[in-house]
Symmetry: C2
Subunit: 386 residues, 2 copies
């Protein structure tokens, strides 16, 4: 029998049924008026969610493609960039840059810790010749469940007076937590469809500041698919340069409307509330959060695997018996943490079910926890006036 | 923002997404070969679920329509029937019979209590002239959350030697709890699409034994829409006599396949397991079940409203804050009980969420309960090997 799924990997996420329904509409001509109207609405909605007046482009791709797009559009071989590295996805950014011949200064931070403004400032101040053309950093590192304090970091970078651009990967932050592209001065903001936007994977999103366009003009790196300039020309007439992900755009229009209807700030607040619920109930169960205190992500929580609990056993009990699907630790965190995604379309009753299932599965996997602990902690949180 | 709905009224129920998807297929010609194949598959599947070789007819109607169909097809004005009355839906059967000029001996049982074999046997034994042409009774009375012990009752009726037919309303029992139409000798079995079959409302189902057909031949009551004979003639060639609920039949085919895949007996067992979960957690919270002990329904649980808790307040907290939709008490039970439907597509994690929400909403409505009680009770049940 088909069961109701609780898809709690750190994205792709549960998709609201109205979005699923939009996806099922018959595909339309991507050279027609109806499509142009759709693109215009999606771009306008994305600008609202990114809080930007910069150009916003969409590509048929996953988020990693957009990370690559930033590298090949902004730089020339041999250019220098700094990249914060504290997880699989931020390291990927550095890897992509190196693959294309950039010289990368890695700002290594222990996984699970946030990058602090001073970590970046130090590198920029040391760069007396202003050779660094950009600083790359993640808004939210999905690997470890930490959120960097982007506003403070952006401010500190500006204050150095260094001309480096900022390239921010907010794939798992976008539409989940405060993000003010223009106010904070983010030159390149990278997002994807499959996280806070509550869509299947397939649309990569990028916003490009005026300062970034200046770099694009000078960049000599070879590119075709990711080329911003011809894509921008097409998007200005609400077209794609090549076959677009038409049905995903139906879904994007619907999800942007859902976000608008709830209110973007309310969506952020809800993610904070649900994030609190996960942390409070996890701590009540005696679990340890992997993320540095004060920097815990509101879209994904990484929890240390209790001693003696095997991740595969835990995950399979959760999936097979409780139909809750979680994520494991990546690379060096494999077998050390498990991760619960709580982003997009998720509400109090859903997370109550998820944390209850986590409690029962941990118990069954050998962890000593008093059954009902999560229910008590969440009951106390949810029954407070809010 | 659209939230995940926990539709826990006692039917219509949550619909699995594969069934929803079937419903969205383009409507087909209901006089074509594709439709005939669909009807044949649905009828065969329904016979499996009803465990019958009797004729099974479908009507575009709700369950109440099929109750009426039995009356107008089997009887003539002035005929006598006995009808067990212990809730809104069993009383409706008697009301319908009287509306059509039948003389009804009501076997009144206190709401919340089951009808016992002897209650019916007594009436039949008193009927020395064998004037009663049928006994009508519900399998599962949705009003009060009780399930009659149908197997024992059918056996006791047979043992009296009385020739009365049996008309059983299993609208809320079908595909939720053991039902063996032929083995138990049920002449008319009435069902609907919107409960254990996990479909929207709109298909009424009836199975008709040979003995019942004999009565149909003699019945003189006026009828057209509900007329079994012409509908049977059409269904024998896998057609309907008039416009059928085409898309619901797409869904029915899918839901019958889901049931077959899980195994009908496993579906019954799962309803028992989920019913136990509701009862165990409700009792742990200090709540009182309304149904007579030993006769509690596995598709709907009626719970006495604790003193001082207002139903409307409870239901609105549940719906507005937790997105769980429950049912209230009907007629004389209004304001005295609340009802939780747990039939169709429902599993352990879902009911965990529902009972947790009930606990929190009761707490917020002024009921004294230690938060976490439901989670503890369900945790203990679900973590047992099963």
């Amino acid at each position: 029998m088909e069961r109701r799924k609780y898809l709690q990997i750190p994205g792709p996420t549960n998709i609201p049924s109205s979005v699923l329904n939009s996806l099922s509409k018959p595909t339309i001509n991507h050279r027609g008026k109806e499509f142009e109207k759709l693109v215009a609405e999606c771009v306008a909605g994305l600008k609202d969610v990114l809080k930007t007046k910069n150009d916003v482009l969409m590509f048929p791709s996953s988020g990693s493609g957009i990370l690559e797009s930033a590298i090949v559009n902004l730089f020339s071989p041999g250019d220098k960039v700094a990249a914060v590295c504290h997880g699989v996805f931020s390291e990927r950014m550095a890897d992509i840059a190196e693959s294309h011949g950039l010289e990368v200064t890695r700002i290594n931070v222990e996984w699970g810790k946030a990058v602090k403004p001073e970590d970046i400032v130090k590198v920029l101040e040391k760069d007396e010749n202003k050779g660094l053309k950009a600083v790359c950093l993640p808004h939210n590192e999905t690997t470890s469940g930490i959120t960097n304090k982007l506003e403070d970091i952006m401010k500190a970078i500006k204050e150095t007076g260094h001309p480096a651009l900022t390239i921010v990967d907010s794939v798992s932050g976008l539409a989940c937590m405060p993000l003010k592209t223009d106010e904070w001065g983010i030159d390149i903001l990278v997002g994807g469809s499959q996280k806070g936007l509550m869509l299947p994977p397939g649309i990569g999103i990028v916003s490009i500041s005026k300062k970034a366009w200046e770099l694009v003009d000078k960049a000599t790196m070879a590119k075709w698919y990711w080329d911003y300039k011809p894509m921008k020309e097409r998007m200005e007439i609400n077209q794609f340069r090549y076959t677009p992900p038409t049905n995903l755009l139906f879904g994007l229009k619907e999800s942007l409307e859902l976000i608008k209807e709830e209110g973007l700030e309310n969506v952020w607040d809800r993610h904070k509330y649900i994030g609190d619920a996960v942390r409070i109930s996890a701590k009540a169960m005696g679990l340890k959060l992997f993320a540095e205190e004060g920097y815990e992500s509101n879209s994904v929580t990484a929890i240390e695997l209790p001693e003696g609990v095997d991740y595969k056993k835990l995950a399979s009990i959760l999936e097979d018996k409780y139909n809750v699907i979680i994520g494991g630790g990546l690379r060096k965190l494999s077998g050390k943490i498990f991760r619960i995604g709580h982003l997009g379309s998720i509400f109090n009753t859903d997370i109550y079910a998820v944390m209850g299932a986590v409690e029962m599965a941990l118990y069954e996997a050998g962890y000593k926890v008093e059954l009902g602990t999560a229910g008590k902690a969440l009951g106390e949180l949810f029954t407070k006036n809010n």
